[in-house]
Amino acid sequence: MLADRLTGIDETNRSSYFFLDEDDRCLFFGEFHVGKGWSGGPTNQLISNYKRTPSEIAASHNAGKLQYYKDTAVSEIAAGLRRQFSPQDINVKYTFVPVPGSKIVGDPDYCDRLAKTLRAAFLPFGAADIRQLLRVTQSTEADHRSGGGRLRYEELLAITELDRAQLARRLREVVVLFDDVLTSGKHYKVAKTRIREGFPNQPILGIFVARAIHRNPFEEFAF
């Protein structure tokens, strides 16, 4: 089960996330230990199940089991999210937005786990506002699988855009950007930048299943 309370990024842990600054409001449930795999603890196991790609699952002899674990992770994360909000806030105050993944719709590895999680968490309340406000215009290698060839911030910004079709209704008081792992803050910052271009004063809150803890502790917690 996810933690009862979210934890925030503040002066004690912000320096681990290159793209975050004091104006960024980011919360997370647990910690994902990069490079530690299954032995990194329950949060590592949850994230591994959650991020399993469609092609990985399809290629496995245990496809049914892997899909079940992934679906269970979606349910668990949805339940954790739901506990953080009052029904009133869900239905009135927030617009929930999944941060776009690395693949475009139609790509064999396109995965809508974030949107699915938000829907599972909040749709039962009747009037939740969940929108795929952002999209990427081309598929790229996911950062955690890219073996060092990560997209630079500018490159990611260039292929991320607001989906105008999603703007027929006004955004609510606060946009919640939801993603699985806070690694450097790059995806969050790109998403925030694109939203702020269209809505300069829009309050934005980042919520993550976990924050990444890198191997060298000096790089993570340093003041």
Binding site: D4, R5, T7, F29, T43, A210, P217
Partner: protein, 298 residues
């Protein structure tokens, strides 16, 4: 009010644990006269589901956060984290303690707590045989894939940590000082090494510690034994006198439902009254690592 209703009553951001605010609130609670681990545990029992910042004014939390973070910086601590009951990665096994800690500081790799952890403890002034036994056990636990946990004290603790490191294993130090201090002085380097490469944990409040002298601060040591026991699967006592602080850990290990192993040599020392007493209460008398291993599941 149950936890879910409580969550629903408060804004998501206001309810989130902000590390600086939370450690400031914990420090503020400890700065109050008469605060003990028992008093704090009672306070949180009366306020189920609360975190320290729910029980302290924002101004007070901020004031003590500045003091604690200032001390942390001044001590040259370059990296640290906290664990808060109710927030992510807090070790639920701590709740088995009689007066569980609501917040602790740590330095290093928290994921080590997901490994199988065994505490090896004993006297600060061991015999040569005691040193030999502690080293042999520590090495055997490492070879079997366990993490060796101890209290960074002189004697058996130091041998347990150093041997685990030399054997290429993992070790955790549960400190009787805040992360901003070291005791004993000769283990300062070892403490830093463990904090950088492995894991050091402390429940000791930084500001309170800085405001009282050695006589007040010696009480943190037995308290850390309670936490050490709760964090581990079992405790092994290598050698200890009748008045050793190690016996605090023995008592709490039994109370917490953890396995307690006492080496046979302790029973054979006719001057010691405690081994038989703990054996009556469920401690297991063992001669070597193989016997201990046979009692541990998996």
């Amino acid at each position: 009010m149950d936890l879910i209703t409580q969550a629903a009553a408060v804004d998501v951001e206001a309810r989130a644990v902000m590390p600086a605010r939370e450690l400031g609130a914990y420090e503020a609670l400890w700065a109050r006269e008469g605060t003990t681990f028992k008093a704090l545990a009672d306070l949180f029992r009366e306020n189920l589901g609360s975190v320290p910042s729910d029980l302290v004014s924002p101004a007070e939390a901020e004031q003590y956060a500045r003091l604690a973070l200032g001390t942390i910086r001044a001590a040259g601590v370059k990296h640290f984290g906290i664990r808060v009951h109710g927030a992510g990665e807090y070790p639920e096994k701590l709740r088995d303690a009689q007066h569980p800690v609501e917040l602790l500081y740590f330095q290093g790799n928290w994921d080590i707590t997901s490994s199988r952890c065994i505490a090896i403890v004993g006297t600060r002034r061991p015999t040569d045989d005691g040193v030999r036994r502690a080293a042999k056990l520590s090495r055997s636990f490492v070879d079997a894939g366990f993490t060796v946990v101890s209290g960074l004290a002189q004697g058996i603790d130091t041998v347990a940590h150093r041997t685990a490191i030399d054997a290429g294993g993992l070790t955790v130090a549960v400190l009787g000082t805040p992360i901003t201090a070291s005791y004993p002085a000769e283990n300062e380097e070892l403490q830093h090494h463990i904090a950088d490469e492995f894991l050091a944990i402390s429940q000791v409040p930084i500001v309170r510690y800085s405001r009282q002298g050695p006589s007040g601060n010696r009480f943190w040591f037995p308290e850390r034994n309670v936490t050490m026991s709760a964090l581990t699967e079992a405790t092994v006592i290598v050698e200890a006198g009748n008045t050793s602080g190690t016996l605090i850990q023995a008592r709490h290990a039994i109370q917490q439902g953890r396995k307690l192993f006492i080496l046979d040599n302790c029973f054979r020392n006719s001057e010691l009254t405690w081994p038989a007493k703990f054996a009556e209460r469920g401690a297991i008398r063992v001669s070597d690592f193989e016997e201990i291993r046979a009692h541990l599941a998996g």
